[in-house]
């Protein structure tokens, strides 16, 4: 069967499943719509959190990032998992005990201030909308590569599917589709990894294969990889990094950002009990770790495979002739993700690191520049083809990539629509709205959010690459500290919380804009984005952790200079600290 039809079968089949789930899990009340009725089992919720959390970035891009950066990019692995420890111990159980529908609602009640709630809504919208653009764009790209439709058409198909299950089912529909999407994406990710690990190391478990012996050469896999890439002028894969401060702060920013992202936090409101919120965090990390422990193995194995494809007789011997390149290189060349230019006209593909130190070696071998460039994403997308796996595995990767993008998009859209309908419409504009009226408002805001996300996904505002940094920066510097102080301090008051959130948010935004351009408009940056210019060597992507510290400091100073919170607020803080008396999440 033609590959196109196999892909169509897998993608179409998975979409039909999501829609069937949506029809089965229709939301009947605001409780269904916002928190899936509050009766989700912790293991089910853990799986849904896994899909909610693991986006196109985790599924498609992360292994490629690690393959390119080696040890230095382990920050993504630790940063995007360590946040769950913070969630489990510092936020989730207490916010579940508080028992309301949205994150801004907690901030508004705890800091007895409508303005605090609005600041939180603004942070939530900024973080979630920037994040959802990337997911929609990712879904469009996956469509265009695997189903040969143009990206905009693909995007619209994806938007319609999300619309059906998210608008109809709300959190209830999203929860069960996320469970299905988790299964699709984890199978799609691990099957090619198992085969590649078997081929290279004889070990069927990729995380073990990573530290096993490379069968062909008899030396450990990572040693072999280091040997091959350093012979071509690339940096040692396992090399240590010099700027430890930046590595620590980047990891910390990702962890705090993860814990502060509203679309992840609201998933903890769907379980029946406080204890379940704790268990959910553990199960979520188990399900996430299945992918996150596989990713570094995929990274190193795919990179080694790529190198041996180009240099079949080792890096010291001649590179492969262009005319003899394998089929997958031909196919991915069409998409522009692989590019070849025969600079020295010898008909062979020389791939090496064009640096000054390597120039003498390159010259001696008659090379006139690196001739082969590839986008990091192909290491996952082309993984089955590189390992010569059958066509159905490619179809699975297509369905998996879309599952990852759509499940995260749906979670984000729910966070956005609940902030609009619950925090803005019910919280401020029309507090007397009926449950039915609010449900309709939630559905309409979801529809508007999908339309906006689709539009922005089709016309990305030119800063798509930086948006993830922005989302994590905002969540880390504004929302996480406010939530944590709301639980762990009785002294922080309304003025302190608002001043802290604004200080953290503004300092982080300014630091990002100075290096990446104001509002990401190219050419408006005040300083070049190079390590020499960074304050103490801290990159703009790592600044979220510093912004969080500024937030904490400002909040404490301002609170201590002003009056104590009222007695009933201090009692509220007491009451979220123990589970007794928790009911299901409500909006009242």
């Amino acid at each position: 069967m033609d590959q196109f039809y196999i892909n169509l079968l897998f993608v179409g089949g998975s979409f039909a499943l999501y829609i069937a789930i949506a029809i089965w899990a229709k939301a009947g009340s605001t409780s269904d719509f916002y928190v899936a009725g509050g009766g989700i089992h912790p293991v089910t919720n853990g799986m849904a959190i896994g899909a909610d959390w693991m986006s196109a970035a985790s599924f498609i891009s992360m292994a490629g990032l690690i393959a390119a950066g080696g040890y230095a990019n382990s920050t993504f692995l630790m940063g995007w998992t360590g946040g769950y420890v913070l969630l489990a111990m510092l936020l989730a159980p207490y916010l579940r005990k508080f028992g309301k529908f949205t994150v801004p609602e907690f901030i508004g009640d705890r800091f007895y201030s409508r303005n605090a709630r609005f600041v939180a809504v603004a942070c939530l919208l900024a973080a979630s909308i920037t994040y959802v653009i990337g997911q929609m764009a990712g879904a469009g790209v996956a469509f265009s590569r695997f189903l040969e439709v143009d990206a905009t058409t693909g995007l619209i198909i994806a938007a319609i599917v999300v619309f059906i299950y998210a608008v109809l089912g709300g959190m209830k529909g999203i929860t069960y589709t996320q469970v299905a999407q988790y299964c699709v994406l984890i199978i799609a990710y691990t099957i090619p990894a198992v085969f590649i690990s078997l081929q290279l190391t004889g070990n069927p478990i990729p995380p073990l294969g990573l530290f096993s012996t490379h069968v062909e050469s008899g030396v450990p896999l990572l040693e072999k990889l280091d040997e091959v890439i350093t012979a071509l002028g690339f940096r040692d894969y396992t090399a240590d990094v010099d700027n430890k401060l930046n590595m620590v702060l980047f990891t910390l920013s990702l962890m705090i950002g993860t814990a502060g992202l509203p679309h992840v936090i609201i998933r903890f409101f769907t379980v029946p009990k406080v204890a379940d919120a704790r268990w959910s965090a553990g199960w979520a990390l188990v399900f996430i770790a299945l992918l996150y422990l596989t990713a570094p193995a995929v990274a190193s194995m795919a990179r080694l495979n790529l190198m041996t494809t180009i240099y079949p007789d080792g890096p010291e011997a001649q590179a492969i002739e262009y005319e003899e390149r394998p089929q997958w290189i031909r196919e991915w060349e069409v998409t522009g993700l692989i590019q070849f230019e025969d600079k020295n006209n010898d008909g062979r593909i020389q791939h090496y690191n064009d640096t000054e130190e390597f120039e003498p070696t390159a010259e001696a071998r008659g090379w006139e520049g690196n001739e082969f460039n590839y986008n990091n994403d192909i290491l996952v997308l082309a993984n089955p083809e590189i390992a010569n796996l059958p066509g159905w595995v490619i179809g699975l990767i297509a369905a998996g990539g879309l599952a990852a993008a759509l499940s995260t998009a749906a979670g984000l859209l729910l966070a956005i629509s609940s902030a609009v309908s619950h925090d803005l419409i019910k919280g401020a504009i029309n507090p007397n709205i009926s449950d039915k009226g609010e449900l309709l408002a939630a559905r309409i805001s979801m529809g508007v959010a999908i339309a906006l996300a689709t539009y922005l996904g089709a016309n990305p505002p030119g800063f798509a690459a930086q948006v993830v940094a922005l989302a994590f920066g905002i969540a880390a510097a504004s929302l996480f500290p406010a939530l944590m102080m709301g639980i762990f301090s009785k002294r922080v008051n309304n003025k302190g919380a608002i001043a802290g959130m604004l200080a953290g948010l503004i300092s982080t935004l300014v630091y990002i804009f100075i290096f990446l351009g104001w509002f990401f408009i190219p050419g408006t940056n005040n300083l070049a984005n190079t390590p020499d210019n960074w304050l103490l060597g801290i990159s703009p992507l790592s600044f979220g952790a510093v912004g969080a510290m500024i937030n904490f400091a400002v909040a404490f100073i301002v609170s201590n200079a002003t009056e104590e919170p009222p007695v009933e607020i201090q009692e509220l803080v007491e009451s979220v600290r123990y589970p007794r008396g928790a009911g299901k999440a409500t909006g009242h």
Binding site: M78, T81, V85, P220, V248, G282, L285, E568, Y578
Partner: protein, 87 residues
Amino acid sequence: MSDIPSNAVEYWKANLRLIVGSMAIWAFVSYGCAILFRPFLSGIPIGGTDLGFWFAQQGSILTFIGLIFFYAWRMNTLDKKFGLDEE
């Protein structure tokens, strides 16, 4: 609102102690073993590289999972011990 159980303060202190201990391990494996102390652990070989690399790509994640389940289990015990669990 004002019916705060009398042992809630003790319970909270026990929770804080548990959190501080867990967070110390959380920071030790990720920021410590995987990043800052990697040069000191470079003498311990593991599958073609060193222990610090293992912590950065696997060890931290496995420790995080263990920590969360340990915390959840301990807290559930504390909830019952202090009589503050949900019925």
